[in-house]
C-alpha cells in the first residue's frame, strides 16, 4: 500500500468518524486540534488503524504525531516494519 492510498482511506474514515469537513484535512494541519481529539477518541483511532491497515499502534507512536502527514507516515512506517 502506498502513501496516497493510506491518505485516501484515512481521510474517508476521519471525515465520517469525526464529522468534519474533508477540506479541513490538510497534510500540515494539526492532527489533534483539527479532529478535536479527546483521550477516548484514541480508542477509535487505534481500532480504525487496526481494522483497515492490520497494524497496531502504541502510545509512543502517537507522541510523534503532530500533523496529518505525521499520522499518514506513521501508518506507512508501521506497514513497512
Amino acid at each position: 500500500m502506498n502513501l496516497n492510498e493510506i491518505i485516501k482511506i484515512t481521510n474517508e474514515v476521519l471525515v465520517e468518524e469525526f464529522e468534519i469537513e474533508a477540506s479541513t484535512i490538510k497534510g500540515e494541519a494539526n492532527f489533534r486540534e483539527t479532529l478535536d481529539l479527546d483521550s477516548l477518541d484514541y480508542v477509535d483511532l487505534v481500532v480504525f488503524v487496526e481494522e483497515n491497515f492490520k497494524v497496531k499502534l502504541t502510545a509512543e507512536d502517537f507522541q510523534t504525531v503532530i500533523t496529518f502527514d505525521d499520522f499518514y507516515n506513521l501508518i506507512l512506517r508501521k506497514l513497512n516494519e
Binding site: 479527546d38 483521550s39 477516548l40 484514541y42 480508542v43 477509535d44 487505534v46 481500532v47 497496531k56 499502534l57 502504541t58 502510545a59 502517537f62 507522541q63
Partner: protein, 288 residues
C-alpha cells in the same frame, strides 16, 4: 463525585500495621484493631461522611433509620473489607469462601479465552471477585488511577509479595488505553470501576434512583468501541470469611449509553441492598 483527585485515603504505615496483625495474630485481631481506627476516620473525614449522608438520603425505602449509625457501620465495613483483602493476599485465602451468582458466565469467558470488560463500582470488594477469577485461570487487569497504584505497589512490594492481578495505571500519556487494547487482544479480562471520575474527565449521564448522575465515560466507550462483552461484577461481604459474588450475563453493545444505563440500574439495586458497603466517598448526585 467530580472532586476526586485519583488518590485514596489511608496511610501505608497504617496498612502495614494491619498486615502485621493479620500475619501474626490473625484476621479477628485485625478486626478488633478497627475499633480504634474507625472512630478516628469517622470523626475527621467530614467530606466522606457528608457524601454518604447525601447518597443515603436518595435511597428509596432505606432499611436503616439512623443514618449516623449506618455511616459508622459503612466505615467499619470498609475496614473489614480491607482487612479481608490483605488477608487473602497474605496466605489466608483458604479461610474465605463465597456464594456465587453468575460466576458460570465468567468461567465460560475464561474457558473460551474470550476477553471481556468487567464493570464494577466502589461497593463491596472486587478483590475477592478477582481472586475467584484467578482461581479459574483468568488473567485480570485492574484499571486504576496513578495515586492508588503507587500506594498499592509500595504495599505489595514491601509486605505482601505477589499481587493477584495486573494493574493498568491511568496516565496522562494515554498509555493505559493501549494497554487495555493489548490485554483484550491477549484475550484477558479487564476490571474497571465506573462510579467515580476525576476532574476534567469525560462523563456520561445516567439515572440512579431516578436522579441524574455523571459516570466516567471511559469504561462504557471502551466496552462499546472495542466490541468486547461486558459484565457487571460485584462482590459483597456477608459475614466473617464469607462473600457473595455476582456477575451479569456478558452482553455486547455498540452504544455506550445503553451500557451506562444498564450499569446505573444494577448499581441502584446494589446500593439499595448494601448501603453499608458503598465505599465511594464522593457524592454521585453532585452536578458536574
Amino acid at each position: 463525585m467530580s472532586k476526586w483527585s485519583g488518590r485514596s485515603k489511608g496511610f501505608v504505615f497504617g496498612y502495614q500495621i494491619f498486615i502485621l496483625f493479620i500475619k501474626k495474630l490473625g484476621v479477628p485481631a485485625a478486626y478488633l484493631l478497627l475499633y480504634f481506627v474507625v472512630p478516628f476516620y469517622y470523626i475527621f473525614l467530614y467530606k466522606a461522611r457528608k457524601s454518604l449522608y447525601v447518597t443515603f438520603k436518595e435511597i428509596p425505602e432505606l432499611k436503616y433509620s439512623n443514618l449516623k449509625c449506618l455511616i459508622f457501620k459503612n466505615f467499619f465495613n470498609l475496614g473489614k473489607t480491607l482487612v479481608d483483602n490483605f488477608a487473602i493476599l497474605t496466605n489466608n485465602k483458604s479461610k474465605y469462601s463465597y456464594v456465587g451468582n453468575g460466576e458460570k458466565y465468567l468461567i465460560d469467558l475464561i474457558n473460551k479465552s474470550q476477553p471481556a470488560i468487567l464493570i464494577s463500582a466502589h461497593i463491596g470488594s472486587w478483590n475477592i471477585a478477582g481472586e475467584l477469577l484467578k482461581e479459574k485461570g483468568g488473567m485480570i487487569n485492574v484499571v486504576m488511577y496513578d495515586g492508588e497504584v503507587k500506594k498499592i505497589k509500595r504495599l505489595v512490594e514491601k509486605d505482601i509479595g505477589k499481587s493477584n492481578y495486573n494493574i493498568i495505571e491511568i496516565k496522562d500519556d494515554l498509555s493505559h488505553l493501549f494497554k487495555i487494547k493489548n490485554a483484550i487482544d491477549n484475550k484477558e479480562l479487564i476490571c474497571i470501576h465506573a462510579d467515580r471520575y476525576i476532574e476534567g474527565a469525560n462523563t456520561i449521564t445516567a439515572r440512579i434512583f431516578d436522579k441524574k448522575v455523571h459516570l466516567p465515560m471511559g469504561p462504557f466507550v471502551i466496552a462499546s468501541k472495542l466490541n468486547v462483552p461486558y459484565s457487571f461484577v460485584f462482590c459483597f461481604r456477608e459475614s466473617i470469611y464469607r462473600y457473595q459474588f455476582s456477575a451479569t450475563k456478558p452482553e455486547l453493545s455498540s452504544d455506550p449509553q445503553i451500557i451506562a444505563n444498564e450499569f446505573a440500574e444494577i448499581l441502584s439495586e446494589k446500593l439499595s441492598k448494601h448501603p453499608e458497603q458503598w465505599f465511594n466517598y464522593f457524592n454521585i448526585f453532585e452536578n458536574k
